[in-house]
Amino acid sequence: MNESKLKQLDWLLLPLIGFAIVLALWAVSSVTWATNLPSPVKTWESSKVYILEPFAKRGEMDQGILRFTWYSLILVAKGYVLALVIGTPIGFFLGLSKAFTKTFDPIIQILRPVSPLAWLPLGLVLFLSAGKEAGTLGALFTIAICSMWPTVLNTAVGVRSIPQDYLNVAKVLKLSRTKTLFKVLIPATLPYMFTGFRLSLGIAWLVIVAAEMLTGRPGVGGFLWQEYNSLIYEHIILSIVTIGVVGFVLDRLMSVVERRFKTI
């Protein structure tokens, strides 16, 4: 094979080399300094039933990995939609009103860095009276409140940076408030909003694992935690890989959508 052909395969070869290096490090680690770490081969042996029968259901906490992923995705979707529905209008108000910004910005800046692990107990307490559903509602609350900030802030930036020209057009045409909102403000902000949506989705997926761990719901995160407690360390790795791959796929999908709105 000549050199230029090799270059063309860069996109495939180089990542494969990367994976090989990490696998090698993992294998070496598992026999040297971290003897409790299952080796790659052992991990595969123990995990393959979960991967090869991805939708099997053998018990509440013993299901195929994609089935677990599906449970997690449903919960994430609900929390995420909640985050967008609440976050987008807040972002608009922040962008449009200086007084609103001055009033709420400090609160937002204080709430934003709080970890999901801190929110979850509060969520559980808030919905204590819901009985059996408390775990689900608490998880939803946590996902929504942690993942809405990128949407809020990006929407606000988008609204603030609408060119004066567009607003002048709206003024010269005497567009009503609602028409200005739907014909000018929202379309002009959409690209920013979608950047926020993408980042929010990433965070929502981060939060789900923590939420499932603490509430013990079936899902990838719940599975991970349960297998840790039952000392089946191979499945911890299986879960980590699954979480990573799903997060990656979600981000790619969102950036496809995002790019569509960039071009308008």
């Binding site: 940076s161 020209d165 567009y166 002048n168 045409l173 980042l199 308008i264």
Partner: protein, 301 residues
Amino acid sequence: MSFLELNNVSKSFGGHAVLKDVNLSIAKGEFVAIVGFSGAGKTTLMSIIAGLLKPDTGTVKLEGREMGGPGPDRGLVFQNYSLLTWLTVFENVKLAVDQVFPEKSETERAAHATEFIEMVNLAPARDKRPSELSGGMRQRVSVARTLAMQPKVLLCDEPLSALDALTRANLQDEIARIRTLHNQTVVLITNDPDEGIYLADRIIPLTAGPGATLGPSFTVDIPHPRDRKALNHDPHFKQIRRDVIDFLLGSKGARHATVSKKLVLPDLEPEDLSGRAPLIGGRRTAIRRSEIKRETVEVDS
């Protein structure tokens, strides 16, 4: 009685006087060109006439009535097109038509929008987005959108400055044609005396800022339609050009003037936030190229 009238209009931005005691009176159907240096305050003057800016003192009257805010009776063709990038050519024009003629039926409005798109020869680009058009085409959309509102006065803020010479000449002829067609009252702002004299019935220089004001008006006594080639040798044309330029240069005197010059066409694309640094952290506001590419240079006159 004058149709459009400005009385003692002054405007300053934060203590910096831009316009001072501007008086202007335009008759119905008249085409007036205002020519001035870059940064003199031409856009400011236009925004005041359009109602987008409030003058500090003085009044703007249309048909004897004092104007408050902006409105479709004074159609403004923006210096930088200001088309809504997410709408097609047709939709951009239609938005204006829908707004100004709510009493017409949907089909009538669509036909009305189409008529004006055809008038600026853009029928083939009807369903294109502004990003797919050339600068000259965008400017024609902008003109069509404004004309479709059938404004009492057409205000053009350097509509052709960003275009190359050939396209510019083409569009000048188009403006002249449309103007004759509708007997439209026009205020054209330009930085090119030739363009002003070629198109207008009257050309008025705006002195250099700060505190710019309108100079004497020069009547262009040449019948329409005008022949560009013949005009270059017309002694009357040459005389007016000399007078206008002399006045403009004289108004600057021997002092240095600052000329603020836009270097780049405004880009209407929003700032790219998809880069590697996600925005979760920052409190910064996005900066647009059109807002920063303004350079100030000293010129000797």
